[in-house]
Amino acid sequence: MATPNPTPTPGAARSAPWFARVERGFPYVLLIPAAIALLAVSVFPLYQGIEASFTQFVFGRPKGSAGFDNYINVFTDATFWDSMWTTVRFVSIVLVIETVLGLALALLVQRELKFVRVFRMSIIAPMTVAPVAVGVIWRLMYASDTGIVDPLFVALGQKAPEVLSHPETAFWGLVVVDVWEWTPLLFLLALAGLQSLPQEPLEAAVVDGAGPFRVLREHTIPLLMPVLAVGIVLRLIDAIGTFDQIFVLTRGGPGTSTQLISIYAYNTAFNFTQYGQGAAMLVTLFVLVFALMMVVLRLMKRAQRVAG
């Protein structure tokens, strides 16, 4: 008796035929509530967002069609391109650092796992707590009058950096926060990947006389890549949407030095009640994110083929 097909079960076959019919539909009935919920938070907002992006809002109220005006405003807005560039810069920097650090840490500890429980406990703390709280924590660390970062630099004989007060240091300050928060995720993924690797090719390479770095470059990393790639692209999508920490730490400032696209879109929609223009920005961003999501799906399928 095979379950994959909703064929009538022995129990159902003995009862009335209507019951068999009900049973055949049963798997589909189970889908309905969740399908409605998922459509309500995906297709519906997409539709509403696209509609809003073609609507003119005056003082926050819809006032008829705007045609392509919102999009034209967005694409001719230097600040939009500036924040897109800031986003690209931020996301690529944090991803490279987090991947390299996470992988290095995983390689380092993979054979010394006696304290793994305590270690994992402390290392997941930064990414488990609310991103808003992460913002608060680092605001307290960076504060020029009461923080710890400035005194630390002074103690080392340097000038106090006043991280959040200058455009360039504020940007790098946020990079540090993101690396602190999310390197653990890539570490965990890399460690899980390393532990599931087949040992034979690695041992064979060692027998052939390959040094540790050659084994790493030519065998371990290529074998690890399918699994790690999924994590990297998921993190990439997540990083593009980084908002909470920046909202707490700098609100995009000083100037526009830390104004990622999420902060700018939020300000446009909710501080200046330009919902139409904000929506146009977000629809544009969605097209980019959607392309990345398709990449995730493809990578996941490939990773499953490799693993399975």
């Binding site: 500890v109 010394e112 930064p126 924590i137 307290l140 908002f243 929609a269």
Partner: protein, 276 residues
């Protein structure tokens, strides 16, 4: 042999250093939350010289943290419960039956996509929709939105738990004269309990932590949650460091306690099931 021991020591030193880097910022926040105003400005000290709970008292007496906490608890409980109720049947169906029209992979893909959409892409539509039906600044509005989003996660995670339960057990129950529903209740649900627990834990953490949607969809302590409450302490001209640190502690404490009890489940959730 000694070289091996030396490298082992170096590895442990690195592990200790990484742990310190992960944990020290939390410690710094906790000490600040227990310091008097004068001690905060008296230069850095790693232990509060005269510990006090004044900062916490201020949050509850003047900054509405009682309401924020209450709102958070209500929203978390209802949206977690509802999303499990709505999402688990779909997860079960996707894991157990071969559905027509490639619904199995389509359903999972839809859940994954909803799960990973950055919330910033959703705020404007949700804001306008809730404004239309008069549910801005209400707990009900937040519960509806969070239930929808959390459902994606429940479907994704519970599907993998249901798929891990051997089909043979269920088939045996059916042969014994159970129908699908009673087999589900008697056999599948008890076996899926750890999965439900893990999923619920992750959904609770994600909902308690969510900020951007709560920020845009609420406007007063009537419906604001803890993360939004924390953000209300910042801004204007000056930041009151002691209460802000205390607010941060309130924000992280329940989650850290949860994480200590259920780190495996949280890791599984954070890595989208890649780490089991």
């Amino acid at each position: 042999m000694t070289r091996r021991r030396l490298s082992s020591i170096l590895v442990y030193l690195t592990i200790l250093l990484v742990m310190a880097i992960c944990l020290f910022p939390f410690w710094w926040m906790i000490t600040l939350s227990l310091k008097h105003r004068v001690d905060i400005f008296a230069g850095p000290s790693l232990v509060p010289p005269n510990p006090t709970l004044d900062n916490y008292a201020q949050l509850f007496n003047q900054n509405h943290f009682g309401s924020f906490l209450m709102n958070s608890i209500i929203v978390v409980v209802f949206s977690t419960g509802l999303s499990l109720l709505i999402g688990a049947p779909m997860a079960y169906s996707l894991a157990r039956f071969r559905l027509a029209a490639r619904l199995n992979s389509l359903g999972l893909m839809a859940a994954l996509l909803v799960r990973i959409v950055p919330p910033i892409l959703l705020v404007v539509p949700f804001y306008l929709a809730l404004a239309d039906i008069g549910l801005l600044n209400s707990l009900l509005g937040l519960i509806i939105v969070y239930t929808g989003i959390n459902t994606s996660f429940v479907v994704w995670m519970m599907q993998s738990f249901f798929a891990e339960i051997p089909k043979e057990i269920e088939e045996a129950a059916l042969v014994d004269g159970d129908n699908r529903l009673s087999a589900m209740r008697r056999v599948i649900l008890p076996l899926a309990m750890p999965g439900f627990a893990a999923t619920a834990i992750f959904v609770v953490v994600a909902t308690y932590n969510e900020f951007l949607l709560a920020l845009t969809l609420t406007g007063s302590p009537k419906a604001q949650t803890v993360p939004v409450g924390i953000s209300t302490l910042i801004g204007k001209t000056q930041v009151d460091w002691g209460p802000m640190a205390a607010a941060g502690v309130i924000g992280v404490l329940p989650i850290l306690v949860f994480a200590a009890i259920a780190q495996r489940q949280i890791v599984r959730g954070l890595t989208m099931g890649a780490v089991k």
